[in-house]
Symmetry: C2
Subunit: 206 residues, 2 copies
């Protein structure tokens, strides 16, 4: 009896929402614009998502579910730690420099203070998992003698830092006229610095 089953509706809406949120931020994004970008009326949009906030939250979940498996290696046990770190940095940097992927972390950083639950979710499901994976890999590396005895928790944060700057540079600074970053070269430089810093023969210098 009803009309066609628009199966990819949600994906269409997500795509439109990502565009508008990325360009306007959360607060300044208009549901009308998202609807228009998706080729829908605003009322139809509200048939799929109960509110602007819920739409953004769905977007966040979708992104996390799609990205985490790509970024975090499934087997952390027997692979050499340096190779794992190299792989994570490469993959994560490649992913998070895409505007549609950088969107969520960017808005969490900028507007998250108004949405503690969203930040908590993002922290728990994305940040903390990546952080934990890196920390574990470092600890394995130390245990195996591949790395020197470092502060794994904070070193993992340093690794994440290089990924985040790159994402910000690419999606925020570069569109505003900053000189462009070569993501692959940046990944190589970051890997070199990180592995150099973790290697057994190195000390803290100065």
């Amino acid at each position: 009896m009803p009309r066609q089953i628009p199966d990819d509706r949600d994906e269409t809406i997500f795509r439109a929402a990502r565009e508008v949120f990325a360009a306007q931020g959360f607060a300044a994004a208009r549901m009308d614009d998202i609807a228009k970008a998706a080729g829908l009326s605003k009322a139809t949009l509200y048939l799929h998502f109960a509110s602007k906030e819920e739409l953004f939250f769905a977007l966040t979940q979708e992104l996390i579910d799609r990205m985490l498996p790509v970024v975090i290696p499934s087997d952390i046990g027997d692979v050499p730690a340096p190779a794992l770190i190299r792989q994570i940095i490469g993959t994560a940097m490649q992913q998070v420099t895409r505007p549609d992927v950088a969107l969520v972390p960017r808005l969490v950083i900028g507007e998250g203070n108004r949405f503690p639950d969203l930040v908590a979710y993002y922290q728990e499901h994305a940040v903390s998992r990546i952080h934990h994976a890196l920390q574990t890999i470092i600890e394995h590396g130390v245990a195996r003698g591949e790395f020197r005895a470092v502060d794994a928790r904070n070193s993992a944060r340093s690794i994440m830092g290089g990924i985040i700057v790159t994402a910000i540079w690419k999606t925020v600074l570069e569109p505003a006229g900053a000189d462009s970053v070569d993501v692959e070269a940046m990944a190589d430089a970051h890997v070199a610095m990180v592995l150099g810093g973790l290697q057994v023969e190195a000390g803290a210098g100065s």
Copy 2:
């Protein structure tokens, strides 16, 4: 009605504006709230700043002018590069983990796409200067044989990364329930990793 000495007016307004912008973001911040927090009426606020955007821009300029001299050492010439890097990381991390300082970069990241001129200004006057200082220090270090021949431009970005994650962790994640970062320990760990990665005897590993 009273005609007080409104000399510290701007500072009062800045303080109030930082509070409100930090809590609400740019778009969702209300000028009424900023006025109230400054103990002023909104109309009076508009006697000092022509628009919300101009107020935020003034805030940005004030912050940059106040922070850059603290973070960037005046003499980069003869001091050993490792000491300079240690100093910059320590100072920058200490500064930028303060909510009122993190404010501007956070909003640039989240809502900057709507204000290209602001981002360009921030990039040119803050990001690019710190980046350039770090790059120069690394290049000097390489020239003097303190560091191995690295990609200075991208290595400088890695250094900035560790500072930025710490700021975000402290001002965004931590208020939402993430485990707290010990800023000093984080600075030490980052310095160790960076200097280890730059040191002459180290290679890229794996």
